[in-house]
Structures are given as structure tokens and as C-alpha cells.
């Protein structure tokens, strides 16, 4: 696949889409974040505004509320958002893919349009206190009854659960089968009796991450996604998209900061030490490499390649980009470190999580070694 030419899309069409987006942006000024407005609330406003212009879910089929275009179009707009210094795209691409690939037609029609519109906010209930990178070790159990399940267990790192209405939940439905065959996926409304959401304060002071306590929560059979046991495959698909900077909206997020650094470099050029200018240049290169990489992955998928373990490569590249970028940004804007630290300092702290969430960098290297390079196991 990599030794024959790839098609990165129709440049004229992509350019037209960018122009169309710029024109829309010119008529729809960026919303201002209120001083007391929590970030997810602000981003949700932005999400709805973007959706009103048709800029959410570009690569989702039209019958599910998207634009029916390709992920190459989504890359172009994600890159454009950063260039226009706009907030990033909503972080829903990977959840949408999970529903697209594993949901029933009824579930796709019911959930996807509302997810894209921001009418329903979703979170992801995968990790547990005893199952992080080793996701197969989860112990939350969904006991089957006639037509429904009773779920008991605890989830952790459930981002923005306190602002969410629905949770894509993984739970075991078989205690005896091997882990990879015994996990099922559900759509859990978070207002169900027995659900407790407790925000967990992160190192940067934000309460993005949450704990989710599930005490005999009733979930209907119709809320199960796919058949029993499909949860592991769904999780692997989801994390493979989650490890891709495009589907998590990271491209637009990094692009915004890279643009800020470049503008600063242009203004200060003579006043910046050479080393710092080079570090900004390195961030520009990292970012452009990441965008080119997302384009290549998309082009490969459009050419028929199925998403697989190469997403671990994507995740490590994304981590490299993010951690070098925020570290450099603090060097460039030292005032962010003053006092209790500015917003960028908070983002910097958050960037340290990049090598942990979605499977640590060490786990990604293990996956590459075993599943891409086919290196032997120990012993």
C-alpha cells in the first residue's frame, strides 16, 4: 500500500471547501468565552454553531446528519480551523465511528444526528481503576435478565461525564469467557437511577476526568450495541480512531497554537534567541508532519486499507507533537508560568497526559513490536 501512489484528494474541491468555510467563518464571528464559563460549556456552544453551518461530521453519511464527504475533507477543515485561530472541532469523531461500524441502523439513525448536532453530549466509559492500558482487565459486569441488564461497577477517566447525557459503556457480559470475547457495549443514559458521576480534579485544576459509579443500573437490551461480545472489537476500533489526531480534533487544537507561535515568531524574529526560533520551527514541522500523516492514513483507508494496529504509530506521533508543542510554548510565553499559571500552563500540564491516555506510549510500542513488526514474545 505504501509503495504505490496515494490519492490525497481533489485539490480544487478541497480548496473550494476551505474557501467556503472561511466565508462562513467571516459571517459567524468566533464566540467569546465568558470568564466564568467552563471550557466544555464554551466548546459546546462552538460545536452547535459549527454544526449550524454544516461543519460537523463532514465524513459522516448524510442520512445520519453528516455531510457525506470524506475524511480528507475533515482534515482540510481541521487544519483550516487552526489557521483561522478558531477553537477545535468537537471530539466526537471516534464515537461516531464506533456507532457507524457497530450500531444497528435504528441506533445510528437515533443517535448520530443528535450527537453531531450537539443535542446529546456523549462520554466514553471504558477505563476502570483496575483496567487502564490493560483494558481487557475490566470488571464492570452487566448481568443479563429477560430483556434487560443490571450493570455494576466503576469507570474512571470518563471525560466530561458531568456535562454528558449519554455514555458509550463497556461491560463484561460473561464471567467465564476470555476477556476479548466477553465484553459488550451499551449506550447508557447518565440520568438512570444508580448512576453517580463524580468529577476528579486533574493536575491542571480542571475537572474534565470523572469517576462513574454504577450501582445496579438497568440497561435495556435495545441499548446494547451489536451482539454480546462485540465490545472488545468496538473498543479496538474506537481507540484506533481515538489514537488518530484527526478524529479526536487534536489537529485543530495543535494548529491553533502553532499558528500563535508562528505569528509571535514573525513579530519578534530579531528579538528571539536562535534556539527558540528553531524550536518553534520544530513545532511547525511536527504539526505539518502530523497533518500529512492524517492525510496519508485517510488516503490509505479510502484506498481500502482497514484500520488496525498502525493507529499505535499515529498515537505516538500525536504525543510527540503535543508534548513538544506545549513545552516549547511555555518557553516562548514564560509569563504563562507566572503566579498560579495561565491557561497555556494548564494545557501544558494536560499535554503530559498524552503519553498515558488511550493506552500509554509503552503499550503503543508493545503493540507496534508485536502486531506490526511481529517480534517474538519473551521466553
Amino acid at each position: 500500500m505504501t509503495s504505490t501512489p496515494l490519492d490525497f484528494g481533489n485539490p480544487v474541491e478541497l480548496d473550494r471547501l476551505r474557501q467556503e468555510f472561511r466565508a462562513w467563518l467571516a459571517e459567524h464571528p468566533l464566540p467569546e468565552r465568558q470568564s466564568d464559563e467552563p471550557l466544555p460549556v464554551f466548546l459546546h456552544r462552538w460545536h452547535r454553531l459549527l454544526h449550524s453551518g454544516g461543519w460537523v461530521g463532514l465524513d459522516v453519511p448524510e442520512r445520519y446528519g453528516g455531510r457525506g464527504l470524506t475524511a480528507l475533507h475533515q482534515v482540510a477543515i481541521s487544519d483550516e480551523l487552526g489557521a483561522c485561530r478558531a477553537p477545535g472541532v468537537p471530539r466526537i469523531g471516534y464515537l461516531a465511528h464506533a456507532l457507524l461500524e457497530f450500531g444497528s441502523e435504528e441506533q445510528r439513525l437515533r443517535f448520530l444526528p443528535r450527537m453531531l448536532a450537539g443535542d446529546e453530549v456523549w462520554c466514553q466509559g471504558f477505563s476502570e481503576p483496575g483496567a487502564g492500558s490493560d483494558l481487557a482487565g475490566m470488571s464492570t459486569f452487566a448481568e443479563r435478565h429477560d430483556g434487560h441488564y443490571t450493570v455494576r461497577g466503576q469507570k474512571l477517566w470518563t471525560s466530561y461525564a458531568q456535562y454528558s447525557g449519554l455514555c458509550l459503556l463497556l461491560a463484561r457480559t460473561d464471567r467465564s469467557a476470555p476477556a476479548h470475547k466477553s465484553i459488550s457495549a451499551f449506550v447508557l443514559p447518565l440520568d438512570r437511577p444508580g448512576v453517580t458521576v463524580r468529577p476528579l480534579r486533574a493536575a491542571n485544576g480542571d475537572d474534565e476526568f470523572c469517576e462513574l459509579f454504577l450501582d445496579d443500573v438497568r440497561v435495556e437490551e435495545s441499548e446494547r450495541i451489536g451482539v454480546e461480545g462485540v465490545g472488545w472489537a468496538l473498543a479496538m476500533t474506537t481507540v484506533s480512531y481515538e489514537r488518530n489526531a484527526l478524529d479526536t480534533g487534536h489537529i485543530s487544537k495543535y494548529g491553533l497554537l502553532v499558528e500563535r507561535l508562528r505569528r509571535f515568531a514573525a513579530e519578534q524574529r530579531a528579538g528571539l534567541p536562535d534556539g527558540l526560533l528553531s524550536r518553534i520551527g520544530r513545532c511547525v514541522v511536527d504539526y505539518e508532519v502530523l497533518v500529512a500523516h492524517a492525510r496519508r492514513r485517510t488516503a490509505e483507508r479510502l484506498a481500502g486499507q482497514v484500520a488496525g494496529p498502525e493507529s499505535s504509530v499515529d498515537k505516538l506521533l500525536m504525543t510527540r507533537t503535543e508534548q513538544r508543542l506545549y513545552d516549547t510554548a511555555l518557553e516562548v510565553f514564560p509569563a504563562e508560568l507566572a503566579g498560579e499559571g495561565g491557561e497555556l500552563f494548564g494545557d501544558y500540564l494536560y499535554s503530559r497526559a498524552a503519553s498515558v491516555y488511550g493506552g500509554t506510549s509503552q503499550i503503543q510500542r508493545n503493540i507496534i513490536a508485536k502486531r506490526i513488526l511481529h517480534l517474538p514474545s519473551n521466553g
Binding site: T2, S3, T4, P5, L6, F8, P11, R18, D79, E80, A83, L261, R262, R263, A265, A266, R269, D274, L277, S278, R279, I280, G281, R282, V284, V285, E288, V289, A292, H293, R295, R296, R297, E310, V313, L316, L317, R320, Q362, Q364, R365, N366, I368, A369, K370, I372, L373, H374, L375, P376, S377, N378, G379
Partner: protein, 323 residues
């Protein structure tokens, strides 16, 4: 080219590499160089980028350069097949029996205002060299004696300072950007091929080589080293492929920006990937007879070829047209 046609051409280069790729520095001799070059000449690929519109896209040319880089080859695929014909094509020059390669400065950069201080780069089988000065003037220069190169498989010849310089034509401003972008992409792609292939060889070695009673590839420290090298090669591949596609599809200033980004990434990442591969090979990779130093030489010198990281990063820090 259509896909089948391209695969055919790529496989011809691949089998040339299998037959004529050197496996040790001592195999690099004038006779083996001549035989390999003759085999390349027989493939008759110089027309790929010589006609207008070109038969091969820039992306296809980059892929051929990548293929050529995968084994230590003494052949001048880059200079005489991919680069010089592109210059003649951009000039609309009439065909001639001459086989030029490309002249760079002694430091292996694009020449400055005048065609002085030059070497004929990748000159195996070439009878002259083309030089592009900053004003876009393309001149043909004569070749002098062989010059040493740290990249042992690359033939380089001196360009006598008193030799006559024949002006061949003048590149339009846009074409000069295209030329620079194309040259950057082609040399970068060869480095990507070299690093990618060397890492694959190190992976195979890690599967075979046993210590402490087991394959060294089963040790997590070795696995992570190779996984990181793989990520670097993937990054190099993505950015170079995209830059090549830009040449075929985007305005020249965007293509040049993408090519410079690719060169900046590959300069450091391809080299780091080769270091990781050498570490896996261990002691054997430190010997003259082992293939490792041939890759290291190519990639180390390649990281200074046409544009160094030190030049590129500060320039890329300030906004320019990339979108």
C-alpha cells in the same frame, strides 16, 4: 502512469537493486559501478520525467527514489534519470544524446549566483552536469576527475573551475520553485527508503539473533527501540509522500513549503532511525564489511544535502505560504 504500469517500473528498479545492490563496502569498485549503471541504462527510464507532460508524476518519481534508497546502489537514478531530465523538461529543451546529472555546490547546496565551486553529484554514467543559479539560469558544465564522497556508493565528480560553461536556458520563477521542491522531494525520498529498509533489516536481525538463550527481539528494550524507529520512518514516509503529491497538485510555493517540511523531518528522523537500527545490530554494525555504515553514510550526508535542519527550522518558524 496507470497503476499496473507504475508497479512494473517500480519492480524493475526493485530487481535492479536486488541484483546490483552492494552488500559490503569492498564491492564498490569501478567495474561493479559500471555494470550496475549499464543495467540501469538498459531500463531506459530517463524519459519518465523528460516529456511534457511528464510520463511519471512527482509522487511516482519519489517512490522510485525511495525504492532506490532501500539498498546501497551505486547507480545514478536520482541524478541522471529523475533530476536532470526534469530540468530539461521544465526548460522545454530539445532532446540531445547527452546524459547530464546535476551540479550542486561543494557543500551540496543549490548553487548561488554564479556557477562556481561546483561538484557533479550522482554522476555515475553522466557526461556533463546541469547547474541552476539563483536567477534561474541553467548551465551545462563539464566533468572533471572523480571526487571522494563520504557516501561511498554515490559517485561524485569535480567540476573544473576553468572549464567552459554553456548556458542551456532560463527557468521561469515558478519553475524554479518547482525545481527546488522536486529536487528536495526526490533526495528526501531516497533517504526515507534507506532508513525504512535499514530498520526492516534490523527487525529481521532482532528476530534471528539469539542471546541469553532467546531472540533479542523478544526483549522489550529492543522492541521499544525498533518501535520508535518505525514511528520515525512512518512520519518520514507520510510527510514525503504528501510533499510529492503537492508537487503534482498544488501551486509551486506550497509544494516548496511542503518539501522543506519533509526535508526537515527526514534530516533528523531518518538519521535517528538508522542509529536505532545500528544499535540493534550491535558490534557487527561497527565493522567495515557490514552494510550498516553504507546506510549511515548515505543518511548522515543526506541530512545536509540541499538543506540542513539548522537552516530549515528557523525559516519554517515564521509564517509563509503553506496552505
Amino acid at each position: 502512469m496507470d497503476r499496473e504500469e507504475f508497479v512494473l517500473v517500480r519492480d524493475m528498479v526493485r530487481s535492479l537493486a536486488t541484483r546490483h545492490g552492494v552488500t559490503s563496502a569492498d564491492e564498490v569498485k569501478p567495474s561493479t559501478r559500471a555494470a550496475a549503471q549499464q543495467a540501469l541504462d538498459e531500463l531506459d527510464l530517463a524519459e519518465l520525467r523528460r516529456t511534457s507532460p511528464p510520463a511519471a508524476t512527482a509522487q511516482e518519481c519519489a517512490l522510485l527514489a525511495e525504492e532506490h534508497g532501500r539498498r546501497p546502489l551505486t547507480t545514478s537514478l536520482l541524478g541522471t534519470v529523475l533530476l536532470a531530465p526534469e530540468l530539461l523538461r521544465l526548460l522545454g529543451a530539445s532532446t540531445s544524446p547527452a546524459i547530464p546529472t546535476i551540479a550542486f555546490t561543494r557543500e551540496l547546496r543549490f548553487p548561488g549566483r554564479t556557477p562556481t565551486d561546483l561538484v557533479a553529484w550522482d554522476s555515475e554514467g553522466a557526461d556533463s552536469a546541469l547547474c541552476v543559479t539563483t536567477d534561474g539560469t541553467v548551465s551545462r558544465v563539464e566533468l572533471g576527475p572523480s571526487a571522494p564522497s563520504t557516501d561511498l556508493v554515490r559517485t561524485v565528480r569535480a567540476v573544473p573551475s576553468d572549464a567552459p560553461v554553456e548556458v542551456v536556458g532560463q527557468l521561469a520563477a515558478d519553475d524554479q520553485l518547482r525545481w527546488q521542491a522536486y529536487a528536495l522531494v526526490v533526495v528526501t525520498a531516497e533517504l526515507v527508503g534507506a532508513a525504512g529498509s535499514f530498520v526492516e533489516q534490523a527487525v529481521q536481525y532482532a528476530r534471528d539473533r539469539r542471546q541469553y538463550g532467546q531472540a533479542i527481539g523478544s526483549f522489550q528494550a529492543v522492541q521499544h527501540l525498533l518501535a520508535d524507529a518505525t514511528v520515525l520512518v512512518e512520519a518520514c514516509t507520510s510527510v514525503t509522500r504528501y510533499a510529492a503529491w503537492c508537487l503534482d497538485n498544488e501551486p509551486p510555493e506550497r509544494a516548496l513549503a511542503a518539501a522543506r517540511v519533509a526535508k526537515a523531518e527526514v534530516n533528523s528522523s531518518a538519521l535517528e532511525a538508522v542509529y536505532a537500527g545500528m544499535q540493534v545490530f550491535g558490534g557487527i554494525a561497527q565493522t567495515w564489511e557490514h552494510i550498516a555504515h553504507l546506510y549511515l553514510r548515505k543518511v548522515r550526508l543526506g541530512s545536509t544535502l540541499l538543506a540542513t535542519t539548522a537552516e530549515l527550522l528557523p525559516a519554517l518558524a515564521v509564517p509563509e505560504v503553506t496552505r
